[in-house]
């Protein structure tokens, strides 16, 4: 008989645990404090707790922060970097740009290796993959000696044009692996086999930097969970939004860096399937940041290039944008004007209402003053709030700005909501999509409180607060599939002979991929291959990654059409006269794990929900509103705004003009009442026309 399915997402403050039991198919949520030193311990305890004695967990899905923390705290491995002779400074120089353009003192991100940790060897591959200078093994011997002497824990190898021909990198890595023991080796042609040497080197160095720590962590977990027979299979969430086995994770450490946040977007794709709506804007508002991701046509928007701590990464990842706006954002006065953020009070000293020494008014204090936070259940009851402190903080700043405490509180929310809406607009416009075609899905501690207001700003009519907003990322992981991405650099013009070659190379790649995943995907009931091509107009630096079906790749006309159309959508124009080329082949292999059917709550109820009453402020005036407990709501219930729905992880605010309904599985779906549509777009039709 099958055991429980469990997903665990490690957050900075709390660890979220989602358990689905085979007996009733229902989902159970737990939250425990994260203790950074004992994460493995926490997980084992949580699993034992969830399954009870003499039971097992069939699948454990895990969003790990081990890799990311090693980077954030700069506690990764001592890495040696091996490069082509003449190019050892590539990693230190970077691309030379200054994102902070009026800063005289701009400093590049702190590199993860020093210059004296970088070693050159004689070898050279040309842009066409031809060997121009053979690999000099004597140089490699000398490097191996230095690595041994100085006890490096990891080696990153990145040679010029290795994406076009990996033989030198493979030979170097084989040699070093034989020669050196207990040293982790990362080579660029395996980690990120695509062009642009600085970005590829950075990706490879990052992989080497976090690999030893991630291995230690995962091996420890393996021993405790698998050997302890607590768990049959341990899966790790990747930044791409897919799962992988923990064994594989040990060899591709870098793919785990955005493990946790990716869960949110995956959760939204699961919601998209359930709700039958393809386009979601996912907003996760916590204490210090506001993170946004997109689901378009049911698929999470991904990027193949991003950065961590300003260090570039060439990897398929869920596209996540962040701005510094959260519950802890501080309101202050500058030159006589009101400002909110980017400074945050964080958890310590925290907002004024935490009474931990913070006295400056924050967004959370504003929500308290407006009556929008349920004092008893904030952060699951773990923080006791002091509303009088929030009031005092508003009074002090309000006096300077000639605003009453409630005017200031509502103003702070207005400013922060407007900024979040502006950030969303810039992202959607940049992608060529219209926010009005999207539903907002809100999660994280503060998201559901602000979502309807943000939606108003964007003229979005529907907001979904999923059934487990406080553990949505973990719930997303529970619903994720296995995924592995293969990429091969393969440059061909899109013409009859080029596409012929592309097509057969894709078939080869598919076979390779099928072989490579066979052991890892043993438990999957279906395996899907998704081919992608990176294409561009000849002469462009960047490309579009387009999903294609197998047949398409051999038909130059169809392939070109697909590219022209996609280019039009993404960039607003195309040029059918220009030559199109393929530069990379990609193959994503998805493995569907056996899932337990999720059972919704029954519509029947023992008693009517008896809401609490609270005084809240909307639009400068006080209202007497009902506050429902989420637990008490049943499918088909509706809640008319102004009102609120509280639960341990957050409070959902339903402002005047909005109505919330509970769907069959328990999601709260907020809709703006038709007649009170707020921002007026008299020229809405014209807008659509121009945007095409």
């Amino acid at each position: 008989m099958s055991g429980s399915h469990i997903a665990i997402d490690i957050g900075g403050t709390f660890t979220d645990i989602v358990v689905q039991k085979p007996s009733d198919g229902q989902i159970y949520i737990r939250k425990v404090p994260t203790s950074p030193e004992e994460i493995a311990e926490t997980i084992v305890n949580a699993v034992q707790d969830a399954i009870g004695p003499s039971m097992t967990c069939t699948q454990l899905m895990h969003g790990t922060t081990a890799g990311m923390n090693a980077l954030l705290q700069r506690k990764g491995a001592k890495v040696a970097l091996v490069t082509t002779e003449g190019f050892r400074d590539i990693y230190l120089m970077g691309r030379g740009n200054r994102p902070d353009m009026y800063n005289l003192f701009y400093q590049k991100p702190e590199p993860l290796v020093r210059r004296r940790d970088i070693f050159e060897v004689r070898e050279r591959i040309g842009p066409d993959g031809k060997v121009e200078v053979p690999l000099e093994m004597r140089d490699l011997e000398a490097v191996a000696e230095r690595i041994e002497e100085a006890s490096y824990e990891a080696v990153a190898i990145c040679f010029l044009h290795a994406y076009a021909n990996p033989t030198h990198e493979v030979a170097a890595s084989d040699y070093l692996r034989d020669r050196l023991h207990r040293v982790a080796i990362s080579r660029s042609s395996s980690v990120a086999p695509v062009w642009r040497e600085y970005e590829r080197t950075s990706t490879t160095v990052l992989d080497a930097y976090i690999q030893p720590e991630l291995r230690r962590y995962l091996s420890d977990l393996d021993v405790r969970l698998l050997d302890g027979d607590l768990c049959d299979d341990l899966f790790i969430m990747q930044s791409s939004g897919g799962l992988m086995s923990s064994d594989r994770a040990k060899n591709v450490a870098i793919t785990t860096v955005m493990s946790g946040p990716a869960g949110g977007a995956v959760g939204a794709t699961a919601l998209a399937r359930q709700l039958g709506h393809g386009n979601f804007l996912c907003v996760d508002m916590g204490g210090t940041s506001f993170d946004m991701s997109l689901v378009v046509d049911g698929k999470a928007a991904t990027v193949t290039e991003s950065s961590m701590e300003e260090l570039p990464l060439l990897l398929p990842m869920i596209e996540i944008h962040s701005i510094g706006a959260g519950g802890g954002s501080i309101a202050w006065m500058e030159a006589g004007g009101l400002r909110v953020g980017p400074q945050s009070a964080g958890a310590y000293p925290g907002p004024a209402c935490y009474a931990r020494g913070g006295t400056e008014p924050t967004v959370t204090d504003a929500s308290v003053v407006l009556g929008r936070i349920d004092l008893g259940s904030f952060a699951g009851g773990s923080v006791t709030l002091h509303p009088e402190r929030a009031h005092e903080s508003m009074e002090r700043l309000g006096a300077e700005l000639e605003l009453t405490p409630t005017e200031l509180a509502e103003g702070i929310c207005e400013v922060v909501n407007n900024r979040m809406a502006g950030a969303i607009r810039a992202i959607t416009v940049g992608r060529g999509v219209d926010p009005r075609d999207f539903w907002l899905v809100a999660f994280g501690g503060a998201g559901p409180m602000h979502a309807a207001f943000i939606a108003d700003e964007l003229d979005i009519s529907t907001v979904v607060v999923p059934r487990h907003p406080g553990a949505f990322s973990a719930w997303g992981m529970l619903n994720a599939e296995l995924r592995r991405d293969f990429v091969r650099s393969f440059q061909r013009i899109v013409d009859p002979s080029g596409t012929q070659e592309v097509s057969s190379a894709l078939s080869e790649l598919k076979e390779e991929a099928a072989d490579a995943v066979s052991a890892e995907y043993e438990a999957c009931n279906t395996i899907t291959f998704l081919p992608f091509l990176d294409m561009r107009y000849v002469g462009q630096e960047h490309s579009l990654t387009l999903q294609i079906d197998g047949e398409l790749s051999s038909d130059p006309d169809l392939l070109r059409d697909l590219f022209h159309e996609s280019h039009l959508t993404r960039y607003g124009h195309n040029n059918r006269a220009e030559v199109v080329e393929v530069i990379n082949l990609r193959m994503a292999v998805l493995g569907q794990l056996l899932k337990l059917p999720e059972v919704g709550k029954s519509t029947g109820r023992k008693d009517d929900p008896t809401p609490d009453r609270a005084r809240m402020i909307f639009d400068r005036s006080e209202a007497d509103v009902f506050v429902y407990s989420r637990q008490s709501l049943r499918p088909t219930d509706t809640v008319v705004g102004p009102s609120a729905v509280k639960e341990p992880s957050c409070t959902t605010i339903i402002p005047p003009g909005w109505t919330a309904a509970v769907d069959a599985v328990g999601d709260l779906v907020l809709q703006r009442n038709r007649k009170v549509t707020v921002p007026v777009h008299p020229d809405a039709d014209e807008t659509n026309e121009v945007r095409q």
């Binding site: 003449g86 009026y102 701009y106 062009w195 000639e402 124009h573 777009h681």
Partner: protein, 584 residues
């Protein structure tokens, strides 16, 4: 330039601080949205990848409400283009749906390749503002296929447009479109970019109209007045803290590209209460070579220099530069008149910006830095079927607490990224032998100047010519407060079959297969006495190879034990004492 403080005539409404802040953020968001639209829709990599563009939303005065810039030099000078357009046609001429185009260097300040496209914004029949964009077009019909480095009058630099109506009430003025198209070698691309700029203007118009609809004209104007007042207060506070007085700095360009005579740039910064005046009198008269610029661009450069020092983190609004005024005598290289050539208008501006910072260094030592390597340092390889142009990164000046950064793009280019070796080798018949940090090139100081770079390449095609535009050999990145200068740039050109030679500027030199260049960019200046640099930091630089042992002893007085990574403390003490005395 009209920068006197003034309120809007209709400013009567009282507006609350929340609405002011919401609108302040919204104006920036509108500009960001215009920028996203322009970048998304542009045709040429110079815009969508190099971000050689900028956009702004203006009120009807015109004063900037919000702006987003790809290049620092485009900071706050789009209003000069709007003013010139209004001066020419008159306010009453504007109709809803109009679009105007111009690029005249003497009006907009930049070279002719930078095209400004702007549109008036109406609300309920009233002119309420402008949306403006500037983007670099790939070709506007100059005498050569790339930016000519040897032009001597503007007529060689391409099609020149004063304020011109491109679209009237939503309809293209076809004659103008035809003239522009017929004068470009790449008409499809530039017309595509024109469409992208118009799309960005349209977004700006609509979003501004949305805000007016939502908040009302009176409220928006009142809030605008308050937003400007806040920016102004913020700046005046910092300027007031600077002791009143006149502060000077002077430097030289190597030459104007025509002769080998140095070209003088002279800056006087006068602070009087909360006002700052930058006077460029004493700078060279306009020169024969193409390093002149229109007044608007000199003003923009002065604003960049000012902004680097005064509240660099604050967003730019119509109130930001009210504390600043700029004078440049008519007919000087910074206020050039027809027919002065302007192609490399940015070269003196990099120096000008460094000099403004230098002039203020003695009174604002912790807000200023030593000079950086100075210019874009361009190398062009032009073959029968390809064109490769590349800028070079170099060292930046040290600040009071930080070493200057190594290998960064110059001040006028902002967020521009250099080209990867793998990309260049894949696209062009160019082979890289080495790309590295240039050791020992940072100016010695208590904090050290950043280091330049070395790029060694070989050409692997026939019938190629080489052009170079390297600068700041005569006025390299200077140090501040007893620190040393950065090493000046050097380019070793080895034409196959000839002796190697050092060249910094050259036009269309035949460059046969197998010829090589070694382009070494300059370092930044140091800050403070080198012998006060902590010994362990010098040691660290030596271990990293950024400073040689010889230079450590010569410049910093830090002596190493023979065949060891350890410092000889006694010898170091003796050396440092000598160095100290040598200066006194």
């Amino acid at each position: 330039m009209n920068s006197a403080p003034h309120g809007h005539p209709n400013q009567t409404t009282d507006v609350d601080p929340v609405t002011v802040e919401v609108l302040r953020n919204s104006f920036v968001a509108v500009a960001e949205e215009m920028n996203s639209t322009l970048i998304r829709s542009s045709y040429t990599p110079v815009i969508y990848e190099a971000r050689d563009c900028s956009v702004g939303l203006y009120n009807d005065k015109p004063e900037v409400l919000g702006q987003a810039a790809g290049l620092p030099l485009f900071l706050g000078n789009l209003e000069a283009a709007i003013t010139a357009t209004t001066d020419k046609f008159g306010r009453d001429h504007y109709r809803e749906g109009d679009v105007y185009i111009l690029n005249d260097s003497y009006i907009v300040g930049t070279h002719l390749g930078d095209i400004t496209i702007l549109s008036p914004i109406f609300f309920r029949g009233e002119l309420v503002g402008f949306a403006a964009t500037r983007a670099h077009w790939i070709d506007i019909g100059a005498k050569d296929r790339v930016l000519p480095v040897d032009s001597t009058e503007i007529f060689q630099e391409g099609l020149r447009l004063g304020p011109t109506c491109l679209m009237r009430e939503g309809e293209f003025v076809q004659d103008v479109v035809d003239i522009v198209a017929l004068n470009s070698r790449f008409r499809r691309s530039i017309l595509g970019d024109a469409h992208a700029q118009i799309a960005a203007c349209r977004i700006g118009e609509r979003r501004y109209q949305d805000l007016l609809e939502k908040y009302g004209l009176e409220t928006v104007w009142a809030a605008t007045g308050e937003i400007f007042a806040q920016s102004e207060r913020l700046d005046r506070e910092v300027v007031s803290a600077i002791p009143d007085g006149e502060y000077f700095a002077e430097g030289h360009l190597d030459n104007d590209g025509q002769s080998d005579e140095p070209v003088r740039v002279r800056v006087k910064v006068a602070v009087d209460g909360s006002n700052m005046r930058i006077d460029l009198a004493g700078s060279q008269e306009q020169v024969a070579g193409c390093v002149n610029c229109g007044l608007a661009q000199a003003v923009a450069a002065c604003r960049v220099g000012y902004k680097l020092v005064i509240n660099p983190q604050a967003s730019v609004t119509g109130g930001t530069f009210r504390a600043l005024s700029v004078d440049a005598p008519t007919g000087s290289m910074f206020n050039a008149q027809e027919p002065a050539a302007c192609q490399f208008y940015f070269t003196p501006l990099g120096l000008l910006i460094d000099l403004i910072v230098k002039a203020l260094a003695e009174v604002l030592p912790d807000h200023t830095a030593a000079a950086h390597y100075g210019d874009s340092m361009m190398l062009y390889l032009i073959g029968r079927d390809f064109l490769h142009l590349d800028g070079h990164m170099g060292g930046w000046g040290a600040g009071i607490d930080n070493d200057g950064e190594t290998a960064l793009i110059n001040v006028t280019l902002g967020d521009l990224r250099n080209f990867p070796v793998e990309l260049v080798e894949s696209k062009f018949p160019v082979h890289f032998k080495r790309y590295a940090i240039r050791d020992d090139s940072g100016g010695p100081g208590r904090t050290r100047g950043g280091l330049g770079t070395v790029r060694d390449i070989e050409v692997r095609a026939d019938d190629v010519v080489l052009s170079l535009w390297f600068e700041r050999a005569k006025t390299p990145g200077w140090g501040l407060f007893d620190a040393g200068d950065g090493t000046p740039p050097e380019v070793v050109v080895h034409v196959a079959g000839e002796e190697p030679q050092s060249l910094l500027k050259v036009n269309a030199l035949p460059f046969p297969r197998g010829s090589t260049t070694s382009a070494r960019s300059g370092g930044g200046g140091g800050y403070g006495s080198p012998w006060e640099r902590p010994i362990e930091r010098v040691q660290e630089d030596v271990l990293e190879g950024f400073v040689s042992r010889r230079a450590a002893a010569r410049d910093y007085g830090v002596v190493f034990k023979a065949d060891s990574d350890e410092v000889d403390l006694n010898a170091t003490e003796r050396e440092r004492t000598t160095l100290r005395k040598g200066v006194r």
